[in-house]
């Protein structure tokens, strides 16, 4: 919003009318979205006079920090796996013929059209004790008893990676397609071997999109609710599930607001980091 308005400033008179066009939306977003969030966050320092006791409780009770750390750990693992799978996948799609690209991209986008809840339950049918994978493994005699694939951290990771992979692959693919083919040809004509071309020319050009995609995946994983609730079997606590508990069960909205504030701060830091990365590399 603000960036869009600021971007127009250079254009003089047009910018002012641009701001006018944007103003109603800006107002709606501020009143209907930002203001309630700010009020909600204010709960964290409210008792009714100003207080920091909810933050003290947050940092003194190891349980909340442990859940936050577990959330960060799962988010980092999801980000890493998405990176390791996503980059080669995007690269492979880039190398396909136009028609094959369309099919490959459709397959990547397809999960977007299916409710996250349905997809999560689908994993149970696939990976549960009586699921397709375990039944096949047992009937082939590869394992004696069913493998525990879900209802643990592995299950949560499978769920988060499945949901978030497109968020990395799509922008990354778009950036890869934009890379000027002539740069690669120039490097080749100067005698650089394939590996060098990739690492010295191609990879750096796609790094900003790759980094931005990874940070997006990280931030989105921090807020996951359904996937850990179902595929974690209640054994992999993540911050959103803790918030649900504090809001709907206990109810301790003040502490929930404090945790949300800390989470928001973490996301803002990650976001600022991503912006700096873009500026430096882009």
């Amino acid at each position: 919003m603000v960036a869009a308005a600021a971007a127009g400033v250079g254009a003089g008179g047009r910018a002012r009318s641009g701001v006018l066009f944007v103003l109603p939306l800006l107002l709606v977003v501020t009143v209907c979205f930002n203001a309630p969030i700010a009020l909600m966050l204010a709960w964290s320092a409210h008792d009714p006079p100003f207080t920091l006791k909810h933050y003290r409780e947050l940092f003194e009770t190891t349980i909340y920090l442990r859940v936050m750390w577990a959330t960060v750990r799962i988010s980092l693992a999801t980000t890493l796996i998405c990176g390791v799978i996503g980059y080669p996948l995007a690269l492979w799609i880039r190398g396909l013929s136009p028609n094959a690209r369309l099919i490959a991209l459709a397959l990547v986008v397809l999960p977007f059209w299916i409710s996250i809840l349905v997809r999560t339950y689908a994993w149970i049918v696939m990976l549960g004790n009586a699921g397709i994978v375990n039944r096949t493994l047992i009937s082939l005699g590869l394992v004696g008893s069913p493998l525990s694939i879900i209802y643990n951290e592995l299950g949560v990771l499978i769920g988060t990676v499945n949901v978030l992979l497109p968020f990395l692959v799509l922008p990354l693919f778009a950036a890869m397609v934009r890379v000027d083919e002539r740069l690669l040809q120039a490097a080749a004509s100067l005698g650089a071997p394939e590996r060098t071309i990739f690492w010295r020319v191609f990879f750096p050009l796609t790094l900003p999109a790759f980094g931005a995609g990874l940070i997006l995946v990280f931030i989105l994983t921090l807020g996951f609710y359904i996937t850990p609730a179902i595929l974690g079997g209640g054994r992999v606590p993540m911050i959103s599930n803790m918030l649900d508990l504090l809001i709907n069960q206990l109810p301790n909205w003040e502490l929930a607001a404090a945790i949300s504030t800390v989470l928001l701060a973490a996301v803002l830091v990650a976001n600022a980091f991503s912006a700096r990365l873009r500026n430096r590399l882009g």
């Binding site: 190891t62 004790n129 009586a130 109810p251």
Partner: protein, 351 residues
């Protein structure tokens, strides 16, 4: 799907209703016994809400012309937000027995107007100052018929003689009493809860619990999928699964009450209409119909003869079944909610 459709449609109607109600007091001063032509109702959604719509709400609207506007789902957080906003669009809200004390402490609900309700015969524990006891539900043990049937929580905890994976509720209030009874505490000695003893007992079964369930549908599905073989679950979820080979017993079950409460500050004329509606809920014949669909039984002591006599064992409050169970101490859970939840989370994270 139904839930979402229901809530979208009703949200709009609630918004419209709320606007009308907001203006009303300034236009016509309400007469003492005047009743609104509609009132809002916070409901959990799902099969039980569908049954109450068919059996209670639609006939009530047909008879009186008073429209009931659903607000789905009826979470505690939503109720609190509604009351705090000062725009109270629902005159009735679905709440568990353990949350009534919290709601009273937070000044979110007001007493039921029992004179206005003028109820039929009800079990005394269903008539709370702040809550109208809608139905009984029970947290029971259930298992697949191809495994050895447990008789009590001690058997359920005995993984050596009753081998198989377990799933237990992730709500400590439903699981901790079972842990204590497995350790030899009798139902009448459960309160005040000895938390140290409960967690020691839970330690013994922890590694055999595959899933800590958070929604009522989970334990039933886990049994059907043969993902686990023993669960604790709400009777309305496992009762309908007898034909699919799922068994349960009310022996050492934990009976509980689902209440309807009155959110603080709802328009008076709407509350009056809501109280009159509650009277229908004490009708034993309607309760029997509701129980046939949901396996949750109502407040009437005269209900048992109206239930299908060949299936009496699946209803939580037939005299036989009621005697095998105990009721929770809502006050204890309210006083200790934060402590229990903290210890519960810490215990689950440890080891």
């Amino acid at each position: 799907m139904t839930t979402i459709k229901l809530s979208r449609r009703t949200l709009v109607r609630v918004a419209a209703g709320g606007a009308a109600a907001f203006g009303a007091p300034f236009v016509i001063p309400a007469r003492a016994q005047e009743m609104a032509k509609k009132f809002g109702f916070g409901q959990p959604g799902g099969a039980s809400t569908e049954a109450s719509v068919d059996i209670f709400m639609k006939p009530f609207t047909q008879r009186t012309g008073i429209e009931i506007v659903l607000d789905v789902p009826s979470s505690f957080g939503k109720l609190r937000a509604m009351v705090q906003s000062g725009n109270v669009t629902s005159s009735l809200w679905d709440l568990g027995s353990q949350q009534i004390e919290q709601a009273v402490a937070l000044d979110m609900i007001e007493p039921i107007d029992w004179d206005q309700v003028n109820p039929g015969p009800m079990y005394p524990e269903m008539k709370h100052q702040y809550g109208f006891g809608q139905t009984y539900f029970s947290t029971v043990m259930a298992w697949r018929q191809n495994v050895k049937a447990p008789q009590n929580w001690r058997d359920f905890w005995n993984v050596k003689d009753f081998p198989g994976k377990r799933s237990l509720s992730n709500f400590p209030a439903y699981t901790i009493p079972a842990a204590l009874m497995a350790d030899g505490v009798t139902a009448d000695k459960l309160y005040p809860i000895d938390l140290d003893r409960a967690f020691k007992s839970l330690d013994k079964i922890k590694k055999d619990v595959s899933v800590w369930w958070t929604t009522g549908a989970q334990p039933a599905q886990l049994l059907i999928d043969n993902e686990v073989q023993y669960v604790n679950a709400w009777n309305g979820r496992v009762g309908p699964l007898e034909e699919q080979g799922i068994r349960h017993t009310f022996n050492e079950g934990f009976l509980d009450i689902a209440f309807y409460v009155s959110p603080k500050g709802s328009p008076r004329a709407e509350k009056r209409a809501a109280m009159v509606f509650l009277r229908d809920w004490t009708d034993a014949a309607k309760q029997a119909e509701y129980a046939k669909r949901t396996y949750y039984t109502g407040s009437s002591p005269n209900l048992a003869p109206l239930l299908p006599q060949d299936k009496l064992h699946v209803f939580p409050t037939t005299p036989d079944n009621k005697a095998k169970q105990s009721l929770p101490n809502g006050k204890w859970w309210y006083d200790n909610a934060a402590l229990v939840e903290k210890r519960w989370q810490e215990w689950k994270l440890s080891g």
